[in-house]
Symmetry: C2
Subunit: 318 residues, 2 copies
């Protein structure tokens, strides 16, 4: 596999980045991905639903990851969660983290500060306009996230297939493709579209190292091609598995319920309940449209290795 | 470029199929695609909004195409439009057409009949279940059409990126990818995902040979990444360019308007008006999410040739 600019930027062997899934992207998962040659990512609140304890949790997650790998790993910051507060960013810098993935907010807020401290910044975008804005604000790469993605989604609904080439044409920095990718075929397709790497979230949830509840992982494995749905259109679109909860929300939406009423459903609490307690029927299982392609719980390292091995075979067949 | 099973099946040089767009997929367009080595497709009502004249129109379109190319071309039948009536199918058979693309209805209806008469059948599907059903009914290949597609869309919303690999895994017949493809990058990505060919609609509208109104073509060329939208969710989802009309529909949908009320908007008449008369502001311009990637009106043959030429360069770079 050829090295791309994403490999050089991050000092990694393969341009495979793990999504920094809130609550569940823990040190064990991140270090396993990094040890296999990708870039593991820690979520500050991994395993810690109490945001009041997020600072010490982040520090301990970083230190744990450092004890498990001597390769680079990163941290994900949701700008929606941290706002203008740099205390968590400062912890990452103090602890020697050299790369962050950021999203759900403006790249104008923290990019310069991070770059002054030698940290590589990858910013999540979902349209050409946002990609250009991120580049203008000095980010090192954009993670272009398609409509297939799990969790909070863009109302623009640009799919990976049409988003990646248009972002590649619009910016000169490297583009990482996210949304709909779970295997070597998706990786090869993303690179054919012009991406120089991929980010995968859902695929890495269904791994031994991820701390998501077993029911949560099992629900992803059991999912078929038509199992995910977008709720919250008109307010905050979120993709997850169809459930009693999403049916309830869709009925309310179809009846014209106001955005305000729907804004907090599924709530952070319900998502947390699914992740931590495994109540996947009552609560929302947030995951990407790629869930139907995931048919087993494997080790995170094997996810990376199977892509690396499969890639050469796919390219040879083209 | 290696030959795929789609090339063998259809007797064509490159596995590039032109979408059989209702009203506008005319003999000149189809023959240009076929002459360039792809498979051109005629729409029975191309240039003829009066369905009462569709039989003679189809016959004359086939004969015109035959006069313009000695290569294979096909006809598209919307099962929603023809129902159980085989009179148009019989015309295609009489006139020596050897391949049809079909969709918007059950493959159980006409597949056996067509195959008994030596016609290759490609059926449009948008989920694994429909792909398996089409295979079971004896179709020669499925055209797996992603959420990116223009016109009538599936409520399942499976994007090309996640649809293609899952359909490829589910059936043993060849899979043609449709939705979001306009250039060599998309073609290469589709093949990386396991497809053995592509179908493109929107890209072929913006060609010199297509009879769509110039305003319609210009609107596609002017489109950006965020220019298309789905309306008719909950009834018949349709993708087209954002317009006054789609804004009006979306407002009604958000207010909880009934499916019945929205079912005929945009109506066939309004789509026809856009295609024929070019009123792209008042009426709907139906096209795929890939419109933002199309930046000029070219010849249909050049569309095919640019993909063939670009493909080797892309694969060499992987």
């Amino acid at each position: 596999m050829k090295k791309t600019r994403v490999c050089e930027l991050l000092g990694i062997e393969y341009p495979i980045i793990q999504g920094g899934m809130s609550l569940i992207a823990n040190a064990e998962l991140a270090s396993a991905v990094s040890n296999a040659g990708g870039l593991g990512i820690i979520s500050p609140n991994a395993g810690e639903p109490d945001w009041g304890k997020v600072a010490e949790n982040l520090r301990s997650q970083i230190r744990k990851a450092r004890s498990l790998t001597d390769k680079p790993f990163g941290v994900n910051f949701s700008i929606q969660l941290i706002g203008e507060d740099r205390s968590l960013i400062d912890i990452a810098i103090e602890e020697g983290v050299r790369a962050v993935t950021m999203g759900a907010g403006s790249p104008a807020l923290h990019t310069s500060y991070l770059k002054e401290h030698g940290v590589r910044v990858l910013h999540v975008v979902a349209s050409v306009r946002h990609a250009k804005g991120a580049e203008k604000n000095g980010v090192d790469a954009v993670i272009a996230e398609g409509y297939e993605s799990g969790g909070i989604n863009s109302p623009d609904e640009l799919t990976t297939f049409v988003l990646i080439p248009q972002v590649v044409d619009a910016v000169s920095i490297p583009v990482v493709a996210a949304g709909g990718i779970a295997d070597a075929r998706g990786f090869a397709a993303a690179l054919a579209l012009g991406a120089e790497g991929v980010q995968m979230g859902t695929r890495f949830i269904a791994t031994h190292e991820c701390i998501a509840n077993q029911n949560y992982k099992n629900a992803i494995v059991a999912a078929s091609d038509t199992s995910t749905v977008i709720t919250g259109r008109g307010s905050v679109p979120i993709r997850g598995l169809k459930s009693e909860l999403t049916r309830h929300i869709q009925e309310a939406e179809n009846a014209g319920a106001s955005s305000e009423k729907l804004l907090t459903v599924p709530s952070p609490e319900s998502a947390d309940a699914a992740v931590q307690q495994g109540d996947t029927v009552r609560d929302g299982v947030i995951c990407g449209a790629v869930a139907g392609m995931i048919d087993g719980i494997v080790s995170a390292g094997d996810v990376v290795r199977s892509i690396v091995e499969g890639y050469d075979r796919i390219v040879a067949g083209l």
